[in-house]
């Protein structure tokens, strides 16, 4: 490596000599970082190719002229620049940095220098990810990367975020990206057992050339995660300890809830519930007013500890970390606890020809999740109780399970809902224990100087044990007790083991001949994944003996009845992929480069010849700044034009886990035996199949421009892309007369996503002498999502019982609704717009229109500021999404007449239309067409938002204070997440990837204090 660099160096130096004409002098100085002088820093003169390196004491000396810009670069640190002025001495303090890593870019299975990359990528480094209070690292990179739409749709600690890269390219197929961890395309969609502090970089690959080498699973983009590793060098051991403590709270909605007195009045007006039996005086004297949101949602706390050890050596290095993380959810009963150990070892032979890497990680997490979210299960969904529990009910009603049952039996309607849920808090437990073991290895051997053989062998085991227990004698157990059943309650225990295996063989040949550089590689890859599951439900638990998750207190089957017969099930699903692929790179003079790849993939999800798909890509770049004519354009430092075109495949025919859609297979009509189908006999469940099922293909082209200007103060990238998905997987509606409502198949539908992405950074203030920097960052994307090619059914494909439509020329799954106009002042009924534009109370099917907007934002991104001054730092991140709308069914609920008398509603219901209150926008409580509300856009609400996603304020203790201690670095920080939103959305959380929100778990607002010590 070193020798190669020198060789290039000398050649270019010779070329650039001819332009040197100004007065030169010798500039000297010392380059240091927080821990002292840094040897080996490259110092070059911008625009020329002249350069040197710092010596062992960090000193350098270089010939330069006034006005020259010196660039200081070192792996793992931010690049610094200085302009040569009158002084002959320039001392530089380098910063550990995010941008330093951007010097290297992931391109398929290899990393190349940013300069040589033809691809569009976006990455964040450990600096961004470390010490953020998110259990799930994916959540942390939200808003940091242009074109990557990450949505946390639940406040459940550690839960999976929705990640959409460059728009949704499918309607009912899978839109999850592929996750590659340390070279292992593990396909894992849960990150909760991974310690975010172990992550060095997360890169998102977006264009065809970048993802071509993951082409069999990369059609929705690829997220490449690399974990930390030690550096080769002189023996050295460093330690790092960081800890955090945080509190979380609910983001409050803007809904206008009725208080107890208002609700009782509404009930009186409507004639239902307790209020209907009270006089005005009694209502005025009513003094219970329970805030059920406050009852079920709590302040939460989180704690984390991380210790890492980095060991450097000449031929072997290691990175070892231990982590503990604990976060309670803001919703009672939820939380996550995680223990992680990671050990990354890198080694090489003395002659540098053999290199290896073994990354091992073990994670153990215990997760308590809320159940029945989004469902109307009044006795199970805590969020429902919180959102619509009647405020005039006191939690003191609850005096044990029997009291809940009594209250339920003796109160009208479903008023007892929150009391039932209080009982569930006491008498229901669940937990998912997960053990995750990741082993990622890489062995390479330089057969000759140019020919490298490489083997990767990766495995991951995800062992999952879930239990849930409904205790004997609990409200639910009593309610659903059968006659003669002595032992009530049940316990589920579900064991699940997922195994992922990946094996890659690669031969790589690279050669430089004069101005020409070639690289050619051939690969074979085998991916295997399987899941085994075995589940049982024990029915009948013996009170007093039963202990959750132990088997104690299980009642056995008796001869008299079948109440205690356990239910069991087991499963085994596999998926295999075989791939052959190769790529070819060519570079001329570091100015022009092309990359081409071709791959052939086979998948066990399909059958026969259709198992195989061929995919390819080409890409090119032009480093314009290398051209001679650019030498006069001094304000431009880097300017690179790049483009790519290619195809990638997708085999995941439906959404859900990586194993969804495999069993029963979708390529044939399948008959599976079903038990107890009729009169105790077996039956056949038929799933209709689509014999020509094959790979879905996404064709993408991308053009981009990378730039750095004004000595690097302004930097950024601009991309235009066009992604088109064909042979699109779709659960396409079919005539029910064929025996099913739809059939998963490759369809004529084409989904096109095209858009632009812009990523900018600008150093407003950059004064290294005074130690002040102020940087503005912004990224944004515009995505235009369009459906075309639908030939049948008037070019429309409906979903969700006709509530959503994908129509030629429009975006996917737009709400298909009546336009709501308001309240008819004459009778209080709802008015809708008919097809000819007139108001009507009784619209028909022909009056429905697509809304022209959906749950996928057209504009989204993030922006923020970084400010540093003598060790103090402030950084902020705002995220935003525009042109997005969802159904707010939580709001709908507050206007639901059926809820009056048993649940709470909005205080606006006091303003409902009556014959004496005709000028209102709340329909009459007795309106006959209220049922059409949900088929209209009445509760389709703008969900655009700008959110202050993260603010950090901290202090890096300067070196001078640490000199006499064992420590080499100390930093303190205070941060807040989700501090405020600017939005028209009235609900708890404007951010969601769902088409409609109801009874969901909002993401919390978090405040965290952190301490980070290096020694």
């Amino acid at each position: 490596m070193r020798s190669k660099f020198k060789w290039i160096f000398s050649l270019l130096l010779a070329l650039s000599m001819q332009f040197v004409f100004a007065q030169e002098k010798t500039v000297t100085g010392v380059v240091s970082d927080a821990s002292g002088p840094v040897p080996g820093v490259n110092v070059i003169i911008k625009g020329s190719k002249a350069g040197t390196q710092t010596d062992f004491d960090g000193k350098y000396s270089i010939r330069a002229k006034a006005g020259d810009v010196l660039i200081y670069s070192f792996v793992g640190m931010s690049e610094s620049t200085r302009t040569v002025g009158a002084s002959n001495t320039i001392n530089v303090v380098m910063q550990d940095g995010a941008r330093a890593l951007a010097e290297v870019v992931v391109q398929g299975y290899r990393t190349v220098t940013k300069k040589a990359a033809v691809t569009a990528d976006a990455q964040v480094s450990s600096k961004t990810i470390e010490n953020r209070p998110n259990a799930n690292a994916v959540n942390t990179i939200q808003g940091q990367l242009a074109g990557v739409n990450i949505t946390a749709s639940t406040g459940q600690p550690g839960a999976k975020s929705s990640v959409v890269i460059r728009g949704v390219g499918t309607i009912t197929g899978n839109s999850d990206p592929l996750y590659v961890i340390d070279g292992f395309p593990s396909n894992s969609d849960n990150f909760r057992s991974i310690n975010p502090n172990d992550i060095e970089t997360m890169a998102v690959l977006k264009d065809a050339a970048a993802i071509s080498e993951y082409g069999n699973r990369g059609s929705n983009g690829v997220i490449v995660v690399n974990t930390k590793k030690g550096k080769f060098g002189d023996p050295k051991t460093t330690f790092r300890y960081s800890t955090q403590y945080g509190v979380g709270e609910l983001q409050k909605p803007k809904y206008s809830y009725a208080n107890a007195k208002q609700l009782l009045k509404i009930e009186q007006n409507f004639g239902a519930g307790l209020g209907a039996t009270l006089s005005d005086a009694e209502i005025a004297a009513y003094n219970i007013n329970t805030d059920w949101v406050d009852y079920f949602f709590d302040q939460s706390t989180s704690t984390s500890h991380n210790i890492s050890v980095e060991n450097s050596n000449k031929n072997i290095t290691s990175f070892t970390s231990l982590g503990y993380f604990e976060q309670d959810g803001i919703l009672q009963s939820t939380g996550l606890q995680r223990f992680t150990v990671r050990n990354n070892i890198n080694g090489k032979s003395a002659n540098d020809r053999f290199k290896y890497q073994v990354n091992t990680a073990v994670g153990f997490s215990k997760n308590r999740e809320a159940t029945n979210l989004g469902e109307g299960a009044i006795n199970r969904n805590f969020v429902l109780g919180a959102f619509i529990g009647a405020p005039y009910v006191s939690p003191d009603v609850y005096q044990g399970s029997q009291s809940a049952l009594d209250y339920y039996n003796n109160t009208p309607g479903l008023l007892a809902t929150p009391i039932m849920l209080i009982d569930k808090l006491q008498t229901y437990k669940n937990q998912t224990e997960e053990i995750r073991v990741d082993v990622a290895t890489d062995f390479s051997y330089d057969i000759t100087k140019d020919l490298v053989a490489r083997v990767r062998l990766n495995g991951q085991v995800l062992e999952n044990r879930f239990f849930q227990a409904e205790f004997p004698g609990s409200f639910n157990a009593l309610l659903f007790q059968a006659a003669g059943q002595a032992f009530t309650g049940f316990e589920d225990v579900n064991q699940r083991r997922e195994f992922f295996y990946n094996n890659l063989f690669q031969l790589n040949y690279g050669k430089e001949i004069g101005d020409h550089t070639f690289n050619l590689n051939a690969n074979m890859e085998y991916n295997h994944s399987r899941v085994n599951s075995n589940n049982f439900r024990q029915r009948g638990l013996i009170p007093g003996i039963f202990v959750p998750n132990t088997g104690a207190g299980y009642a056995a089957d008796t001869g008299t009845n079948d109440f205690y017969v356990p239910q069991i099930s087991a499963g085994h699903i596999r998926n295999d992929l075989v791939s052959y692929f190769g790529s070819f790179d060519y570079d001329f003079q570091k100015k022009y480069g092309v990359v081409a790849s071709f791959r052939r993939d086979g998948s066990s999800r399909f059958i026969g010849d259709l198992q195989w798909g061929n995919f390819w890509s080409v890409g090119g770049r032009w480093n314009i700044d290398e051209e001679a004519f650019m030498d006069d354009v001094s304000f431009i430092n880097v300017l690179k034009l790049r483009g790519s075109y290619g195809t990638v495949g997708n085999q995941r025919i439906i959404g859900g886990t990586v194993f969804a859609g495999i069993q029963p297979p979708a390529f044939a009509d399948i008959y599976s035996v079903a038990n107890n189908t009729y009169n105790g006999g077996t039956g056949y469940a038929i799933s209709l199949g689509y014999p020509p099922l094959q790979w879905e293909t996404t064709t993408q082209w991308n053009a981009g421009l990378d730039f750095e200007m004004f000595t690097g103060r302004l930097r950024g990238a601009f991309d235009y892309y066009n992604r088109q998905t064909t042979d699109l997987f779709l659960f396409k509606p079919i005539t029910p007369t064929a025996g099913a409502s739809g059939l998963t198949q490759n369809t004529d539908v084409v989904v096109t996503n095209k858009g632009v992405e812009l990523n900018l950074g600008y150093d407003l203030i950059k004064n290294q002498e005074k130690g002040i920097t102020l940087t503005v960052r912004a990224n944004g994307s515009y995505n235009d999502n369009k459906v075309s090619g639908i030939e049948a059914n008037n070019g429309q494909i409906f979903a969700g019982g006709g509530l959503y439509v994908s129509e030629n020329g429009a975006s996917i799954n737009e709400p298909f609704v009546y336009k709501y106009l308001g309240v008819n002042p004459v009778n209080g009924n709802l008015l809708f717009q008919d097809a000819s534009g007139n108001p009507t109370e009784n619209p028909v099917q022909a009056d429905k229109r697509r809304a022209g907007i959906n749950n996928l934002p057209v504009y989204q991104g993030g922006f923020g500021l970084d400010f540093d001054y003598k060790g103090f730092f402030i950084s902020s991140l705002f995220t935003y999404a525009f042109d997005v709308a969802r159904f707010d069914y939580d709001l709908d609920n507050l206007y639901a007449v059926g809820n009056i008398g048993q649940f709470t509603v909005s205080d606006e219901m006091l303003n409902a239309w009556t014959s004496t209150n005709t000028n209102t926008n709340v329909p009459a409580l007795t309106a006959g067409n209220l049922g059409l509300s949900d088929e209209s856009d009445r509760f389709l609400k703008d969900a655009s938002y700008i959110r202050l996603r993260n603010v950090q304020v901290g202090y890096n203790v300067p070196q001078k204070f640490l000199q006499k201690t064992f420590m080499t670095g100390v930093s303190l920080s205070l941060q807040g997440e989700n501090l405020f939103n600017i939005t028209k959305w009235q609900g708890f959380d404007p951010e969601s990837s769902r088409t409609a929100d109801v009874y969901q778990y909002p993401t919390p607002r978090l405040f965290t204090f952190g301490l980070d010590v290096k020694f």
């Binding site: 004639g271 039996t277 085998y526 699903i573 295999d576 599976s672 005539t735 007369t737």
Partner: protein, 514 residues
């Protein structure tokens, strides 16, 4: 180092050679058609699945809520009160969709039985009988499903030229976009299927089922012929078919409170009593989402069983007018655990929701549970009493009002402890009304009321009978639920072709008004 390279090469070779094996789809238990259907047992599995699909409570619940059998219950959490109960009927109506889908999903399996039956090679003469019987059962079910489609979706079942639904006399492919056909074509298929089934049953020697009411039978085929002729208004044939069932089936009406209760509450009535066909449910199938009784109550047929629909006041008043009528206590939960709360002053009560709670008891009575392995009721499909009503209707049509009264008397005698006087009708309209009312009491909550109003409402000069306390009181204030809003000639008596069909087949003929 050389060793590693060696292994690498060996691995590559191995790798290339076993592609096909590696990529073989692993799909245990997923059978393709040719493997799945090989013998009589396989065929009976398809029949079982067909009947499982047809066991759908939507029709039972809809027919009671959209009409005047049920009224909102005090535990109503919004179910249907902005929809079916206030006659909100459009293309998105979930009940219309469930009724349509149920029949056609069932028919897709039924047509496979009929199609495969002839292709299976029997292993023995006894096996031939089993295969034949499965085919006959499928033919009866096919007729039944078509009759349901016609009943709910045809604008006028008596008009041969009116549209019925999609004729499913074969396996329809997923790629097709079928059109509706006329009632005439439906009736032709219904009768030819039933005749073919009767011919097979006549010659069939397969061993009898332990409980023959659980499976389609010759008697059911005959009873369905009677029902189909009555639906068409062809009363001469209807009466002949009904008489055939009455005189030759060997089945008699349940004539004590205990046996009548047993028919509905415990299903252990003596053999050959009352029931011609019921869709059987076992305790293993107990599930809140599919149990029949959970169509009206979340938990149990008790006041504290979370009834979100109750027996309507108007039906209760009709039944309670003659308290010794067995059907009163079979239909309404009057005594025992957490019984109904009957408010004599319901008409003036200011809280009728909580003061007057009339709990439905018919399906499963107190046995019905919503619990694992708990009893859940069967779905009654055809009972003997319906044959007497068809006979009565035929008598009216033949201008024999006395005969109509006598036919009703046969049922009444069985439903009271003492013999009843034959109803006397002053006019044909009064007779139609008398029959309609008697059907209402006898067949309530069994999925007849909507179709009966559609068939007989206008002839009887009837209207929907809802008590004002259930749509115009302070507790239940639903102006849109006023029965005046559903006149007997409303277009809503022909349900819309639902969204599920339009999703893929928007060119299908829609009914007027939608």
């Amino acid at each position: 180092m050389k060793k590693i390279f060696g292994i690498l090469l060996v691995s590559l070779t191995l790798f290339v050679s076993c592609d096909d094996e590696v990529l073989e789809p692993f799909t245990p238990g997923s059978l393709t058609e040719d493997v799945a259907i090989q013998n009589s047992t396989d065929l009976s599995r398809l029949v079982n699945s067909s009947m499982n699909i047809l066991t759908n409570r939507t029709e039972y619940a809809f027919s009671s809520i959209f009409t005047d059998e049920a009224a909102p219950g005090f535990n109503n959490g919004g179910q249907g009160i902005n929809g079916d109960y206030v006659f909100l009927m459009n293309v998105s109506n979930a009940s219309a969709e469930a009724i349509w889908n149920t029949q056609y999903f069932g028919l897709a399996r039924i047509n496979r039985v009929i199609g495969f039956a002839d292709g299976i090679v029997p292993v023995s003469p006894a096996d031939t009988q089993l295969i034949e019987r499965s085919k006959a059962e499928a033919l009866v079910l096919r007729a039944l499903a078509h009759m349901k489609v016609l009943s709910y979706f045809s604008t006028n079942p008596k008009d041969d030229a009116a549209l019925a639904g999609v004729l499913a006399d074969r396996v329809i492919l997923a790629t097709e976009t079928p059109q509706r056909v006329t009632n005439a074509e439906f009736y032709t298929l219904i009768h030819s299927d039933l005749d073919a089934a009767i011919a097979i049953f006549n010659a069939n020697t397969a061993p009898a089922y332990a409980n023959k009411t659980y499976y389609p039978s010759k008697v059911l085929a005959q009873a369905l012929k009677a029902r189909a002729y009555a639906l068409k208004g062809d009363y001469v044939k209807a009466e002949a078919a009904a008489d055939l069932v009455i005189t030759t089936s060997g089945i008699t009406l349940a004539n004590t409170q205990a046996t009548y209760n047993a028919v509905f509450h415990t299903h252990n009535e003596p053999a050959n009593t009352e029931v011609i066909f019921r869709l059987r449910r076992t305790v293993q199938q107990n599930a809140q989402a599919t149990n029949l009784h959970n169509g009206w109550a979340s938990v149990a047929n008790r006041r504290n069983g979370s009834p979100f629909y109750e027996v309507s006041r108007s039906l209760y008043n009709k039944l309670a007018a003659t308290p010794e009528d067995y059907r009163l206590s079979t239909t309404v939960h009057l005594t025992g655990t957490s019984p109904s709360l009957i408010d004599p002053d319901y008409a003036t009560s200011n809280d009728v929701r909580n003061s007057d709670i009339i709990v439905l008891h018919k399906h499963g009575g107190q046995s019905a549970a919503t619990a694992t392995n708990g009893f859940n009721p069967d779905f009654m499909v055809s009972r003997l009493s319906e044959m007497y009503f068809i006979k009565a209707e035929a008598r009216v049509q033949a201008a024999d009002l006395v005969g109509a009264g006598l036919a009703l008397k046969s049922v009444l005698d069985a439903r009271f402890p003492t013999a009843q006087a034959a109803p006397v009708f002053a006019s044909a309209q009064a007779a139609w009304k008398g029959i309609l009312d008697e059907r209402r009491k006898e067949l309530s909550f069994e999925g007849f009321r909507f179709i009966d109003l559609k068939r007989l409402g206008t002839l009887a000069g009837a209207s929907l009978e809802r008590d004002p306390s259930e749509y115009a009181s302070s507790a239940w204030n639903f102006p849109a639920g006023n029965p005046a809003n559903l006149p007997m000639n409303s277009f809503k008596f022909a349900l819309p072709i639902p969204q599920s069909e339009l999703n893929a087949n928007s060119g299908i003929q829609q009914n007027p008004g939608y």
